[in-house]
């Protein structure tokens, strides 16, 4: 089997899996990184949302062969280290707004929120209701309203 080398959460990993296995399963089943969750496997629910070189991606839809040796994958577990803190401001906002219910969707929600705030900031503007409406992450516990409040608060501290 081919070996693949890339970086996950600041550390270099080498895995021995067929090329077409999707990154989600490499993370979860091979590397034991379980923060990204499975909710659909077809890039719809966004529960698996993680970052690739700082942008939001859905590893359930990325064959591991697409990941280059220089690529940096960040999952929820590695998010705090990107700001050199115990918690990323978005995670803190999530705690302050007590967003979590069952919690299953929340790693993906937070990763999507961080990428959204970065994207909007790069455009030199603030978050709008339309931006928030554009988030596709499912939450079957229906925490959407607190998510909106938390993103605005988290953005203020990013």
């Amino acid at each position: 089997m081919p070996e693949r080398t890339f970086r996950v959460n600041g550390r270099q990993v080498t895995v021995d899996v067929p090329d077409d296995v999707r990154l989600l399963w490499v993370l979860r089943d091979v590397l034991g990184i379980t923060g990204p969750k499975y909710g659909c496997g077809i890039n719809v629910c966004k529960a698996c949302t993680s970052h690739l070189n700082g942008k939001a991606v859905n590893p359930c839809a990325i064959p591991v062969r697409d990941i280059q040796p220089t690529d940096e994958v960040t999952t929820i577990e590695g998010l705090p280290a990107t700001v050199g803190k115990e918690l990323h401001p978005m995670q803190q906002a999530w705690l302050d707004h007590d967003v979590v219910q069952c919690g299953y969707c929340q790693p993906g929600q937070i990763m999507a929120a961080v990428a959204l705030v970065r994207r909007v900031a790069a455009q030199g503007r603030g978050i709008t209701d339309d931006d928030l409406d554009g988030l596709r992450n499912m939450c079957r516990c229906g925490t959407y309203f607190r998510i909106r409040e938390a993103i605005r608060a988290g953005a203020a501290n990013m």
């Binding site: 659909c40 890039n43 069952c102 079957r140 229906g142």
Partner: protein, 762 residues
Amino acid sequence: MREPIGRRRFLGYVLAAPTLVTAAEIGLRPSVAAASSADAQLPSPNITNIVDLNDLMTLAATPTSGLIAVEVGQDGMVSFALPRAEVGQGITTSTAMLIAEELSVPLERVRITLADARPELVFNQLTGGSNTTFATYTPIRVAAAIARRRLLDAAAIALGSAVTDLSLRAGTIVSRSGRSIDIGALADKAASTQTQQVSVELAPRESFTVIGKPHSRIDALDAVTGRKKFAMDLDVPDAKPTMVCRPPTINGKVGSVANLTEVRAMAGVTHVVVISTGVAVRAETFGQCIDAVRALRVTWKPGTAAGKSDETVRQELERAELPLGLPPLTPTVEGKFTFYFRGNSALETNCAVADVRADRAEIWSGLKSPIVAQQTIAAKLGLPASRVAVHVVQGGGSFGRKLFFDAALEAAEVSQKIGKPVKLMWHRADDARQGRAHPMVTSRVRVSYLGGTVLGYEQRHTSVATDLGHGIGEIITGLAAQLPVGDIGFSEIFFKLSQTTPYDFGATSLLLSETDKGFNTGSMRNVYSPDATCARELIVDQVAARMRRDPYQFRRDFLHDDRSRAVLDKVAEVGQWGRQMPAGTAQGIAFHAEYKSVSAVLVEIDCRPATVNRPIREGVTGPRVTRAVFAVDVGLAVNPRGLEAQMMGGVSDGIALALTSSLHLRDGYFLEASWDNYFYTRQWNTPLELQIIVMPSTSERPGGAGELGVAPSMAAVACAYGRATGTMPTSFPINHGTLSFEPKPTVPPVPPSPTDGLNYAS
């Protein structure tokens, strides 16, 4: 010496153990008779005023001897294994708060775990009917209060002071002279070598410092850091990913498999085996399971809903509907409403880990009825129940789904057949198509009136059979003989127990009839209330219109009691009921009472074309609820912040049920196979303004809350939609008639994993 057991005195135990362990019986609560005598004074008495579902579920516990125990460790931590399932509703947090209150320890020093299946608890380990806080409120506090008492006694000896000179604060006992000792240092001194019964007094409500104050969830940090472990995150040795290739129609069975050998040879695949529900595949990764499931060539036998569709089920319901009474001579308002099938999938699909050996088995899963699961799995495996350990894992949502244990049963079967541990997970498409659904329902309502008086209210609720075979059914059947309901089946009793008519509408008759057991059904954040309430509230609006009354004022005048009127008044006031709204937008208001709790919702909806037709890729936009105001009185709110969260979830569910989410049945299967087919509320459907008002406590005891918010929200959205469009909606969700997606194939049963993820990096 026997002390009299007064109003706040309760009996509990100190258990023989090397560290301090105190306990109480989980059935502990004030007698049902006392509760019912107060309720019986209400006008228009019906069965739910005498005893509601919560009473029944709690009452069911009384004959059991199961104790629940609080343990104080030498590290100063207080531990409690909750015999319920945490699936997002916040009960670990509220339970920790009860212990923190009675024991005067900080919340951080209370460690709540979920108890394994404990058969001796019989009906007391069932998480359903919004019953948890109601049933555990007193016994948990009693156990904690006994621990406090023992710790103070031990401290008195250790510090050489009288107990009356000691105070316990933040986990430390301080004497008047200033000496102090941590409870951890007293844990063994306060322990008992023999089990003894003691009585204890509970803290009065006026002195509460934790209960009733908002607290954030105790598991939030784990959840936001990705550390919270769900069943599929557990590291059980050699439990490899496993999925099942499922039939193209509901409950179809395997005929034959053409290419077993070929699929067994696929990359990563370790086992392929035929089981009772399909063909199971075990592999190194779930990705390889998906590939193998898609590669299998299976011929299938027809299922239990062969050839059925929404239309044929509608006809079945029509035939099963019970007749209304003779038509009254007075004017009437009548309506009939259809509620299509809905999926109760959580975001975490059905899943379980199983390790079955020749003489024993171990199961890990999010389970709300672990005792029934244990017994059923043991029977299937041919093992004594005592040899099957069932561990309850925190669940990624439930909404009724986790009352069943479909995945645990399958995982056990696969593990036994192949002789290896398995980590079995359903694909999303499986969860939508073969998973449990809320049954399709019709509800006919007729109200007779004369002048300004309502003379009678009749409702005939007709439903595809709801499977209650997870414990609740047994509770109801077991206790039915004690109830004044005559000789009827348990679904009908359940209906009577859970449905109340909150209005003073004269002669009232609510009846349920069921038909067709061919579907995999279950509750979905309540069984009957959302549909029954939605139908009732829409008709209430119609009656008010006939009488030329304002919908809010009309409801207010007919509500039974002040507590109900208070929540209705609150939403009308905060939501500015009656304010001017542009054409195509409107307010709606609704009321719902259940589980000794009352709630009211006011929503504003925008049905203007510019809003309805706003584009969202692969999504249903439709009318938007722009604002929701929710008032809730659960008697005593243990954790108001958690209660608000539950109501917020109820609003999201209510919007989905009224406007967007349903399953379409065609040719014996559901068309939906993805969250972009099944339109649960998404960000673009979320109200831009949401206010939840927790009313001041009106009772000494908490009522139920987990399901409460759904029914009034759904009803308010439906009423608002009717007022905005000028036409009362009669079929739900309102967009069911339009198929808003391209159905995925049924063979293979799961869609391929996309490969273009990088294109969407954003």
